[in-house]
């Protein structure tokens, strides 16, 4: 397989073009052509399709697309290109598993197939939903206390000593280090000191901060996981490549972070499904990822629970889990916020969709489109774990029917979904326990879901 420096050389020697030309002359027309040639079609009636042939055809389309389009390097204005042979070689040598955590929390995060009844790797918490410094420890302790959780994400700090965090600033570095220390202490307080943190470093938007704050004296270990992002769509910049270079030299876990946007350059659901699958190839070839965090979202609604995005999640998850041995954490953004029924309907639909489609791992679905500071609570993590375990008992066909019923409950309300409550508004911030009203709402929703045929342990 091509090593990282081989890829870097291609970023220096590939065809040169403006970013706009890459978008307009390469990406969009090639995607349209591939969608047409492979007959990729959105199936509105079946958000969770169950035909393996469609999934395998999508995989082939994504390989073809990747070989024709490549990845655009924004710093050199060149396209990193790969042949079909190189792509398929990388697929053949895909890691298949990722070793994370330490001590009794050490684990192997591996693959699943569609209709697999094995419970996915359960990843809890959120990185992008920023937290205020004073709320962070209690929340992290609660996430880590969920015994079924295999790994976690810790939130970006919103401020450090009241100073807002600006990307790439000294405050960002202070906050990044502080966030790691808070997380380690809180995880230890939960009695699970070896639990891996796999979204490093959420507080650091810039590569220089990530690399600096990753020095081992601040508490991180190579058995944690670092997210190295792409720029939508199919673009990369030196900041990410620098992080990858650093982590490869250290031998730490690299998580390729990818988020195709339905309605953006990908166009509609068919094109987004091709790009969504191609991103697993980018994760293997460019990031040299041990794992991947992937979250398709809708450009207008900012969430992953519209009918078309659910279809993209399901079909590209099936294509990947059947053909690409990359341990993937699938993540969804919900329109509804914490302490709303809407959130739980969406979360149930999204978790069913991803789990039965073969997601190796599912992360706690993010409330309120992940934009409300402190808008994430341990209750959503608890539900995510319970629902994922329940979803693993379904197959694609049954899940499809259930997802359609759940869509009937929330689909028309996506546009006006309520942001819900912040942690401090629905939890006791001293004890870290949920308020009575939220517990009541949670129990009501679960009873409703049980009535619909979703069995919880």
């Amino acid at each position: 397989m091509l090593n990282f420096l081989d890829v870097y050389e291609r970023a220096l020697k590939g065809p040169i073009m403006s970013e706009n030309d890459f978008d307009i002359k390469i990406f969009i027309p090639t995607l349209n052509k591939v969608v047409r040639e492979y007959g990729i079609k959105y199936d509105k009636e079946n958000p969770v399709p169950s035909d393996d042939k469609i999934a395998d055809n999508l995989f082939k389309a994504s390989v073809d697309f990747m070989s024709q389009v490549g990845v655009y390097c924004q710093d050199t204005n060149r396209v990193i290109q790969f042949t079909q042979k190189e792509i398929l070689e990388a697929v053949g040598e895909a890691p298949g598993k990722c070793f994370v955590g330490e001590g009794k929390e050490a684990g192997v995060f591996g693959m699943r197939k569609p209709d697999d009844h094995q419970v996915p790797w359960l990843h809890v918490g959120s990185g992008i939903v920023a937290t205020s410094e004073e709320m962070a420890a209690n929340k992290i302790e609660s996430y880590a206390s969920i015994s079924e959780a295999n790994s976690m994400s810790v939130a970006a700090l919103d401020n450090i000593r009241g100073i807002p965090i600006m990307a790439g600033s000294p405050a960002e570095l202070y906050a990044a280090i502080r966030s790691i220390k808070i997380a380690r202490e809180a995880i230890q307080r939960a009695g699970r000191p070896g639990l891996p943190i796999m979204n490093l470093i959420a507080t650091a938007a810039s590569a220089v901060t990530t690399i600096a704050a990753s020095a081992p004296q601040f508490g991180l270990r190579p058995t944690d996981g670092w997210l190295c992002g792409t720029v939508a769509e199919m673009k990369i910049e030196f900041g990410t490549l620098n992080k990858v270079a650093y982590l490869l030299n250290w031998g730490a876990n690299i998580g390729a972070e990818t988020a195709p946007i339905l309605g953006g350059y990908c166009g509609g659901p068919a094109g987004t499904a091709v790009v969504s699958t191609a991103y697993m190839l980018v994760g293997l070839l460019v990031h040299k990822g041990n794992y991947q965090l992937h979250f398709p979202v809708h450009f207008k609604h900012g969430c992953s629970t519209t009918r078309d995005v659910l279809w993209v999640v399901s079909i590209s998850c099936q294509a990947a889990s059947r053909n690409i041995s990359m341990p993937l954490i699938w993540l969804g953004y919900m329109a509804g916020g914490p302490n709303t029924k809407m959130y739980f309907y969406e979360s149930a639909a999204w978790l069913l969709c991803a789990t039965v489609s073969g997601a190796p791992s599912v992360q706690t679905p993010h409330p309120a489109k992940a934009v409300l500071i402190d808008g994430f609570t341990p209750m959503e993590c608890k539900f995510g774990v319970e629902m994922a375990k329940s979803a693993a008992r379904f197959d694609r066909q049954k899940a499809n029917g259930m997802v359609i019923r759940l869509l009937e409950k929330y689909e028309s309300k996506i546009e006006t979904a309520h942001q819900g409550s912040r942690y401090q508004d629905c939890y006791d911030i001293v004890t870290g326990k949920p308020g009575e009203a939220y517990v009541r709402l949670y129990n009501e929703v679960k009873e409703e879901l049980v009535g619909m045929g979703i069995a919880f342990e």
Binding site: D23, I24, I28, L31, N32, Q74, I128, A130, A156, D158, P164, I165, M166, A167, G168, E172, T203, A205, S206, V231, A232, E233, E237, G239, I261, L262, G263, G264, Y265, C266, G267, G268, G271, F299, K300, G302, K369, A370, V371, I373
Partner: protein
């Protein structure tokens, strides 16, 4: 071919995103002595409006917007020289300088807003991503912008929107520009807090706000 049909074909070329067709029909319009300004306003621009409406309804996506804008420019390549000969100008709705603030490299939302603004007749200067505050202000001065539109996708880059406004104040330029903000985590509350003139939840809302602000100016 009759004038009405030619204008319809110009609009259709935009909707289809067909550059060659736009050029051919534009040539046909000139050879049929159609006023180039009319060809733009009643042909190309009408097509842009149709694509914009389809986008608003969720029937078209960013690729269709971009292809329409590209096709519009192809048609303009033919019509513009004749406009210059006839000393005519297309009325511009105003100039908007748009960019993603310092530290933020997410561009899709910003690109959608820029394209929808163009479709609605605004002169758009796109600064791209990761722009230091001073750079944004200097460019606004250079292009004589009416509106500065600041995009931010991350909570950690939102403070940079505030920094632009504060720097404008320090430079005694705040009253010279309308400043609007947008992006995933941005909301009206934040816009009010930092003293922005407007907030757009979507590209379409951004256009409405810019129109409203410029109407106030006039």
């Amino acid at each position: 071919m009759e004038k009405k049909k030619i204008l319809e074909n110009l609009a259709a070329a935009i909707v289809e995103g067909d550059r060659n067709k736009a050029k051919e029909v534009a040539k046909e319009a000139l050879s049929n002595r159609i006023d180039p300004l009319e060809a733009i306003e009643q042909g190309l621009s009408k097509g842009m409006t149709t694509v914009g409406e389809r986008f608003e309804k969720g029937e078209a996506y960013l690729p269709e917007l971009l292809m329409a804008a590209d096709t519009f420019n192809a048609g303009m390549e033919i019509l513009k020289p004749e406009m210059e000969v006839q000393k005519k100008q297309v009325a511009k709705a105003g100039t908007v300088l748009i960019g993603t603030v310092k530290g933020d490299v997410h561009s899709i939302g910003k690109n959608i807003v820029a394209t929808v603004l163009e479709i609605h007749g605004f002169e758009v200067r796109d600064l791209g991503v990761d722009n230091p505050s001073l750079n944004i202000i200097q460019e606004a001065e250079k292009v004589k912008a009416d509106v500065i539109a600041l995009s931010s996708l991350m909570t950690t880059t939102m403070p940079a929107q505030k920094e632009v406004i504060e720097t404008l104040k320090e430079m005694h330029l705040r009253d010279k520009y309308f400043v609007i903000v947008g992006g995933g985590p941005v909301n009206q509350e934040w816009a009010d807090k930092i003293g922005a003139d407007g907030y757009g939840k979507s590209a379409v809302q951004a256009v409405e706000i810019v129109k409203k602000l410029l109407a106030k100016k006039r």
